[in-house]
C-alpha cells in the first residue's frame, strides 16, 4: 500500500471517530461557519470541539508547516484530507481571515518570530483577525491612506479611521495599513502592522448595508498602540504586502462568478413557462439568460485554463484583475436575472413567505462585489496600463 493510501485510510478512520455527527450537517448559513477567537460565536457546542480536535493535528490549516502549528501535509495529502472530509460531509472546522489572508502574508513577508507568535494561534482558532485597509477618503485610491502611526521607539501610536473592516466587531487583532512616513510618494511610507483590538484606543461601529446588516465596520483609532515587533517587513514597505493581499482578495471575490448550481434557464422555465416548442416563453428573457449562461461557461473554461497554465508555469498577465472584473459583473448579472426570473418572490424583504428576503438581499449585496476589493474601474485601469501598456494621461 502506498504511503498516500495509508494516509487515506488513517484519515478516514480518524475522521469517522472524531468528527461529531452535528458537524456532518451541511452549512445552512454564515452562522454555521466557525471563526474562533477569544469570544467565539458558537451556534453549536460541537463547533469548538471539532475545531480543537482538528487543530491538535494542525488540520484546520493542513498545508501550513508543522513548525507554525499547521498540518505540514503535502499537496496530495491535503487533497486526500479534503476528499475524505467531503465523503462524510464534514464541515470545515475553522474559517478565518487569519487563515485566508494574514497567514499567507506572514509566511511570505513575516519574520520567524512573527510566524511563531501568530500562526499557531490562527491554527488553533484562538485569535480572530480583521483587515484594516480602506479609509473613507482612500477607497479605490487605497495608497492615499492617512491613518498615521507615530514612531515612539519600541511602539507606534496610531490615529485615524478605517472603513469596511469586516468583522472588526468580532475580531481580536487587526492587520492594518498605516502611514509611518509622509515625505515621499503616496506609495512610500505605508507600513503593515499588527495590533490588539482590545485596547482603549480602538472603537468599532458596525455598518448597515442596503442589503441589511453586514460584517462591515467603521473602526476608529485614537492613540492606539502597536508594538514594533509586530511591524511586518520594513517600515515604509507595507504597500508591497498590501498589493500581495489585494491580488489574493481579488481572486477570492472573483469566485462569485462561478456558475450557480441550478441553471437560471431551468429556473425560468418553472416560473415563466415555455412555449409550444418547449422554449422559454419570453424571448427577451431567454436571450438574456442564454447570454449569461454562455458567459458563465466561458468564465469557467477560463478559470480552468488559467489553473492549467499556472501549473505549466505559464501565466495570464493580470489574470486576477480579469477575474475580479468579470466574475463580479457575472454575479451582478446573475442576481438581476434572479429578480427577472423570480419576479415578486424576489422583491420581498422580510417574512417567511420570502425566506427573510434572501433573494432581494443577495441581489443588493452583489452590487458591492464590483466595488469591494478594488472597483471594476480600478481593475480595468490595471489591465489597460499593466497589460496593454496604455499610458497615463
Amino acid at each position: 500500500m502506498s504511503d498516500l493510501e495509508q494516509f487515506r485510510q488513517d484519515t478516514r478512520a480518524w475522521l469517522e471517530e472524531n468528527c461529531p455527527e452535528s458537524m456532518r450537517v451541511p452549512v445552512r448559513g454564515f452562522e454555521d461557519l466557525y471563526s474562533g477567537g477569544r469570544n467565539p460565536e458558537i451556534a453549536h457546542p460541537d463547533q469548538k470541539l471539532w475545531c480543537d480536535r482538528m487543530a491538535e493535528r494542525g488540520w484546520t490549516v493542513p498545508h501550513w508547516p508543522k513548525a507554525y502549528g499547521g498540518g505540514g501535509l503535502s499537496n496530495e495529502e491535503v487533497k486526500v484530507l479534503s476528499q475524505e472530509m467531503s465523503r462524510i460531509g464534514a464541515r470545515r472546522a475553522l474559517e478565518s481571515f487569519g487563515i485566508s489572508m494574514l497567514g499567507p502574508a506572514l509566511l511570505q513577508f513575516g519574520s520567524e518570530e512573527q510566524k511563531l507568535d501568530h500562526l499557531p494561534k490562527i491554527v488553533r482558532g484562538e485569535i480572530r483577525w480583521c483587515q484594516g485597509y480602506s479609509e473613507p477618503n482612500a477607497g479605490s485610491d487605497l495608497a492615499s491612506l492617512a491613518t498615521k502611526a507615530e514612531d515612539k521607539g519600541d511602539h507606534y501610536v496610531i490615529n485615524g479611521q478605517k472603513i469596511w473592516t469586516s468583522y472588526a466587531d468580532k475580531a481580536d487583532w487587526i492587520f492594518c495599513l498605516v502611514r509611518t512616513d509622509n515625505s515621499g510618494s503616496k506609495h512610500e511610507g505605508i507600513s503593515f502592522v499588527l495590533f490588539d483590538m482590545d485596547q482603549p484606543g480602538v472603537t468599532v461601529r458596525p455598518i448597515k448595508l442596503i442589503s441589511g446588516n453586514s460584517p462591515f465596520c467603521e473602526t476608529f483609532f485614537d492613540n492606539a498602540i502597536a508594538d514594533k515587533k509586530n511591524l511586518v517587513g520594513e517600515a515604509g514597505n507595507g504597500w508591497t504586502i498590501a498589493k500581495y493581499l489585494l491580488t489574493h482578495e481579488r481572486e477570492m471575490i472573483s469566485g462569485f462568478g462561478a456558475a450557480p448550481k441550478q441553471s437560471v434557464g431551468q429556473l425560468a422555465l418553472e416560473t415563466v413557462g415555455s412555449d409550444a416548442s418547449g422554449r422559454l416563453a419570453n424571448s427577451a428573457l431567454r436571450q438574456n439568460i442564454a447570454q449569461y449562461q454562455l458567459d458563465t461557461m466561458v468564465f469557467g473554461a477560463t478559470m480552468a485554463r488559467v489553473g492549467d497554465e499556472a501549473k505549466a508555469g505559464q501565466g495570464l498577465g493580470a489574470a486576477s484583475s480579469i477575474f475580479k472584473y468579470y466574475g463580479t459583473e457575472l454575479n451582478k448579472r446573475r442576481n438581476e436575472l434572479n429578480l427577472a426570473v423570480r419576479g415578486e418572490q424576489a422583491l420581498g424583504w422580510e417574512g417567511e413567505v420570502y425566506h427573510g428576503g434572501n433573494l432581494s438581499r443577495d441581489w443588493l449585496r452583489s452590487k458591492g462585489n464590483s466595488i469591494e476589493g478594488g472597483t471594476s474601474e480600478v481593475q480595468l485601469n490595471i489591465i489597460a496600463k499593466r497589460v496593454l501598456g496604455l499610458p497615463d494621461a
Partner: protein, 379 residues
C-alpha cells in the same frame, strides 16, 4: 399636440416638486420604514395632497376632479419618483381611478370617482396571482349564486393593501386561465367576510399585501362593468398604469442620475475629482442621453392617453420597457459610481434602486413589455 409643458403644467410641476421635497422626501420614507408603519405612507401628507386636488388630478371635473389629464398626473408621479414619495397616488389615483373610468357605469363613476377625488375612499386593484404579471392567467374564481357572486382565490402585490377601503378584484366568471373572455372586476370592501389581508414587507419599504378570499360573497351590483367583459377595459387601465409607472421611473432615474453626477464632482480619488475621469464621463453622458430619450417617450405616451390615441398599447409597452431599461442601468450605475458609501443604508441612494425594481416589476417588467412591443409590431 406639442410635447412641451404648458404654463399650467409647469406650475403644477414646480409646486409638486416643492411640496414633496418638504413633506414626502427620502428621509420621510426612511422614517416610515424605521417606524414599521403598516400603512406605508403618511395620512397627514395624503390629506394635504387631497386638499391640493391631487387625488382627482386626472379625474374629469364632472366627477369632482381637476381634469388636468394624465399628463398632469404624470408630472406628479415623476416628482413622486424623484422624492420616492409614498402615497396612494399609484394605487388609487393612477390605477383604481383609471380602471373605474374604463369599466364603471355612470353611476359607479359618479360615486367612486367623486369619493376618490374628495379623498374619502382609497381603492386598490387586486390582480396578480403568481410571481409574474400575467393578467390573462387570472384564476381566482367568481361564481354566480342567485343575486350574488362568491369569490375564492388569492392575490398578491396588492398596493396599499393595509390602507385600502375597497379592492377591485379581478376574477374569472367564465373560461380558463389564458382566455380573454370571462374576466370580471368586483368591488370588495376591506371588511367583507372571508377576506383576509396579509401585510407583506417588500424591498421598497412600501406597504403591499396579499389577499386571501375564501367564500367571499358580494352582490352582483358590485360588478364593475359587465360580467366576463373586463378584459378590454382592464388592458387599457393597465396601459395607463404602466405609463404612470414609467413617469415615476423617469423621475426616480433622473434624480438618481443627478445625485450621482453631483457626487462625481465632489468625490476625490487619486488627487482628482472622480468626475474628471473620462471613463466615468462617457458613462454619465450616455446615461444623460438615455434619460433625455426616455423623457420623450413618457411624454408621448401620456399625450396618447389624454388624446385617446388608438395605439395606446404600443405606447405603453414602449414607455414601460424603455423606462425599465433606463432605470435599471441608471440605478446600477448610481450605486457603482457612489462606491462603498452607496452600499450603506445610511446613504439615500440605495432607496432608489429598491423602489426602481418594484416599479419596474409592477404590471409587467422589461421582458414582459419588450415581448409585447414585438408582438404589437407583428413579429
Amino acid at each position: 399636440m406639442a410635447l412641451v409643458l404648458n404654463e399650467e403644467q409647469l406650475m403644477l410641476k414646480e409646486s409638486a416638486a416643492g411640496f414633496l421635497a418638504e413633506k414626502a422626501s427620502v428621509a420621510q420614507l426612511r422614517a416610515l420604514r424605521d417606524s414599521g408603519s403598516e400603512r406605508g405612507f403618511s395620512d397627514d401628507v395624503w390629506r394635504e395632497m387631497v386638499e391640493m386636488g391631487w387625488s382627482g388630478i386626472a379625474i374629469p371635473e364632472a366627477f369632482g376632479g381637476l381634469g388636468y389629464g394624465y399628463t398632469g398626473l404624470g408630472l406628479l408621479l415623476e416628482q413622486a419618483g424623484r422624492n420616492l414619495s409614498a402615497s396612494p397616488l399609484q394605487s388609487t389615483v393612477l390605477v383604481a381611478a383609471s380602471l373605474i373610468g374604463e369599466l364603471g357605469s355612470v353611476q359607479q363613476k359618479e360615486q367612486l370617482l367623486s369619493a376618490i377625488s374628495s379623498g374619502d375612499k382609497l381603492l386598490s386593484l387586486a390582480l396578480q396571482e403568481s410571481a409574474h404579471h400575467a393578467p390573462l392567467r387570472t384564476a381566482l374564481s367568481a361564481k354566480a349564486q342567485g343575486d350574488d357572486y362568491v369569490l375564492d382565490g388569492e392575490k398578491i402585490l396588492v398596493l396599499d393593501a393595509a390602507a385600502a377601503d375597497t379592492f377591485i378584484v379581478i376574477a374569472r366568471t367564465a373560461g380558463e386561465p389564458g382566455d380573454e373572455q370571462g374576466l370580471s372586476a368586483f368591488l370588495v370592501d376591506a371588511g367583507t367576510d372571508g377576506l383576509r389581508i396579509e401585510a407583506r414587507s417588500m424591498v421598497d419599504s412600501r406597504s403591499a399585501g396579499a389577499l386571501c378570499l375564501e367564500n367571499v360573497r358580494v352582490p352582483a351590483g358590485n360588478l364593475l362593468g359587465e360580467a366576463g367583459a373586463a378584459w378590454q377595459g382592464l388592458t387599457r387601465a393597465l396601459d395607463i398604469a404602466n405609463i404612470g409607472l414609467a413617469a415615476e421611473l423617469l423621475g426616480l432615474s433622473t434624480e438618481a442620475f443627478e445625485r450621482t453626477n453631483a457626487y462625481l464632482k465632489e468625490r476625490r480619488q487619486f488627487g482628482r475629482v472622480i468626475g474628471s475621469f473620462q471613463g466615468l464621463q462617457h458613462r454619465a453622458a450616455q446615461m444623460f442621453a438615455e434619460l433625455e430619450l426616455a423623457r420623450s417617450i413618457v411624454l408621448q405616451a401620456l399625450h396618447a392617453v389624454d388624446n385617446g390615441e388608438p395605439e395606446l398599447a404600443l405606447q405603453a409597452s414602449a414607455a414601460k420597457a424603455k423606462l425599465c431599461e433606463v432605470a435599471q442601468r441608471v440605478t446600477n450605475e448610481a450605486i457603482q459610481m457612489h462606491g462603498g458609501i452607496g452600499m450603506t443604508d445610511e446613504h439615500e441612494i440605495g432607496f432608489f434602486i429598491k423602489r426602481a425594481r418594484m416599479a419596474q416589476h409592477l404590471f409587467g417588467d422589461y421582458n414582459y413589455h419588450l415581448d409585447r412591443f414585438a408582438q404589437l409590431n407583428g413579429f
